[in-house]
């Protein structure tokens, strides 16, 4: 039952030509090398985090440590209160998710299904910000937060998280796909619009909501520069704390200790990815509409 669906660019017939075979073998080799170059740095980071300093600089360096020095991890806690900064990251992530999804969800629902005066202009008011690159108003944004007295407060992340036209666009597109009749019948049954939103629109849009939560997770987990400007010392999220205290250019902290911290930091996003792979990858192709 070989059908046309089984083939890609090359057919089984092509594989009989020796020239094609050689090129294909070369291609497979390239993919293997690329895969190794992707995996090696992470394995290397983890192994190095368990080595002694002498072994770290040994030449040629062994791949595996001769003794697994978990003490490096304990030592790394002297440089960085990981639990505290981890908690800050989680707090920022939770607040951002709540504010952005609640209010953007309501607004998207309203634009998609409710009566709104001058809907076109209001939509433009939101969507035109998509064209403006966030970095071009980085400085006034900082001064604005300073003026509002929000610096070094979690609200400096939570509130601006709601100003995300990209999420609004994705939510609105999703709500547009839900049949109007569903809401009409809910209205006739006497449900308030808020009730329709909560018990019809939200459950139906679970996939997009999960995707947006995961997008938010990686944004929060990744950002170090902006949060290092907005927050200070004990309020820094993890990535920003690592940036200001551990791996700034010219850092003198021992490599093995640095790598212990890096290993701990890369673990949570890795686990999240392994669990939610499907959603993260579908979010990726959503990103392509952002242009």
């Amino acid at each position: 039952m070989k059908t046309a669906q089984d083939r890609a660019i090359m057919s089984r017939y092509d594989f009989r030509k020796p020239g094609v075979k050689v090129v294909y073998a070369f291609m497979v080799l390239c993919i293997i090398l690329i895969s190794l170059s992707m995996l090696y740095p992470f394995a290397n980071t983890f192994m190095n985090s368990l080595k002694s300093t002498e072994e770290f600089f040994a030449f040629p360096a062994p791949f595996f440590p001769s003794h697994w020095l978990w003490g490096n991890y304990k030592e790394s806690l002297d440089y960085l209160n990981i639990a505290l900064h981890f908690k800050n990251t989680v707090l920022i992530f939770a607040g951002n998710t709540f504010i952005s999804l609640t209010f953007l969800g309501l607004a998207a629902f309203s634009l998609a299904h409710l009566r709104v005066p001058a809907k076109k202009w209001i939509t433009l008011y939101f969507m035109s910000t998509l064209l403006i690159p966030a970095n071009s108003y980085l400085i006034p944004n900082f001064l604005n937060l300073k003026g509002l007295g929000l610096l070094n407060s979690f609200w400096a992340f939570w509130l601006p998280a709601g100003a995300n036209a990209f999420y609004l666009l994705l939510l609105k597109n999703f709500f547009d796909g839900i049949h109007k009749e569903l809401f009409e019948s809910a209205r006739i049954d006497g449900a308030s619009e808020f009730r329709s939103f909560l018990s019809i629109a939200v459950p139906l849009s679970a996939p997009i909501l999960v995707t947006l939560v995961l997008l938010g997770f990686s944004t929060t987990w990744n950002d170090f520069y902006w949060s290092s400007l907005v927050m200070q010392e004990d309020k820094l999220p993890l990535a920003a704390a690592i940036y200001t205290k551990i791996i700034y250019p010219g850092s003198t902290i021992n490599w093995n200790v640095r790598f212990a911290i890096l290993s701990m930091t890369l673990l949570p996003p890795l686990i999240v990815f392994l669990f939610f792979q499907r959603y993260i990858i579908s979010g990726l192709s959503l990103g392509a509409v952002k242009g």
Binding site: I9, D14, N144, F224, W255
Partner: protein, 301 residues
């Protein structure tokens, strides 16, 4: 159309109108306020600050076009623009075709397809700060890459020298970013109808000809889109430059945005930095609108 049972036309008046629009507006108000305070106000303030000398102690003073004159008179400004353009160009030259080639190669795999697809995406999951921390060591004069070169008898490569700094960054960034573009291309490739390959093969087209005349033309729209996105993204690059090189050596990796943030947060010239932001804003918005127009025009044609 909506069911117009109690149209406001029947009984005009403000109260009636408010009730008609009540829920729609109620749901929109929080976002209208948030967008105003955290997007439109900063954007407007950025333009106004660019004409002021921003001083937290003595208050802001209007200085007219002085900030712009200062920015244009600063030789670093031109270095930064040149570096940014070089960086954008190198990223296209070295990095842009990698995901296309990788996606085509991965789609042809017979085994481990799923694994090969995901493995390139790995660096995109990990926080950038962790990657930079790792690469600081890989590029180290005694780090793994130089040890390896030493081991096979090649001369040491100084990744941190003035001549090589930009190149080192591009390698790092390509390694870090090609996985997500690969996944987008893989999705695009899956949409190419198999019958086209079948038909062109029967017509005697070899494997290369099929890639050249079937695969690549089918991906054209996607390639253009990712090209525009990459240009917009690389024109705003500054984080890897900051972390790996601090803009140095000798300003070799000083990009436009890095200079902007340096003016603001190292020298506290917020007025000058805002002026640089406005210039960038104009260039990028013009570019975005132009590409949007081009794409719309292309669709109609």
């Amino acid at each position: 159309m909506e069911l117009r049972m109690d149209t406001p036309v029947a009984k005009p008046g403000l109260r009636r109108k408010t009730r008609w629009y009540f829920w729609g507006l109620l749901f929109l108000v929080p976002e209208i306020v948030i967008f105003f305070i955290f997007l439109w106000v900063p954007i407007a303030k950025g333009i106004s600050y660019s004409f002021y000398n921003v001083d937290f102690v003595d208050g802001n003073a209007f200085v007219g076009w002085q900030n712009y004159a200062d920015v244009l008179g600063n030789p670093d400004f031109y270095t930064a623009i040149r570096n940014t353009l070089v960086y954008m160009g190198l990223a296209l030259l070295i990095g842009f075709w990698v995901p296309i080639a990788m996606a085509i190669a991965v789609s042809e795999l017979k085994w481990f397809k799923g694994f090969a697809r995901i493995v390139g995406y790995l660096p995109s999951i990990i926080p950038a700060i962790v990657l930079y921390g790792m690469w600081q060591w890989f590029y180290d004069p005694v780090g793994p890459i130089n040890s390896f070169l030493n081991f096979v008898g090649l001369p040491e490569f100084d990744f941190y020298s003035k001549e090589h700094a930009m190149f080192s960054l591009i390698i790092l960034e390509t390694w870090q970013n090609f996985g997500s573009a690969t996944l987008i291309y893989v999705a695009g490739l899956a949409a190419v109808p198999r019958e086209l390959y079948e038909a062109s093969e029967l017509d005697g087209a070899g494997v290369w000809a099929r890639i050249r005349y079937v695969t690549l033309p089918s991906l054209k729209g996607l390639i253009l889109l990712l090209l525009v996105l990459q240009l917009i993204a690389t024109s705003q690059a500054f984080q890897s430059q900051l972390l790996m090189f601090g803009g140095g050596p000798d300003n070799a990796t000083l990009t436009y945005l890095l200079l902007t943030t340096r003016e603001a947060f190292t020298f506290f010239n917020f007025g000058k930095a805002s002026a640089m932001g406005v210039l960038m804003f104009i260039v990028l918005v013009v570019f975005s609108v132009a590409t949007l127009k081009l794409r719309k025009g292309g669709d109609e044609a």
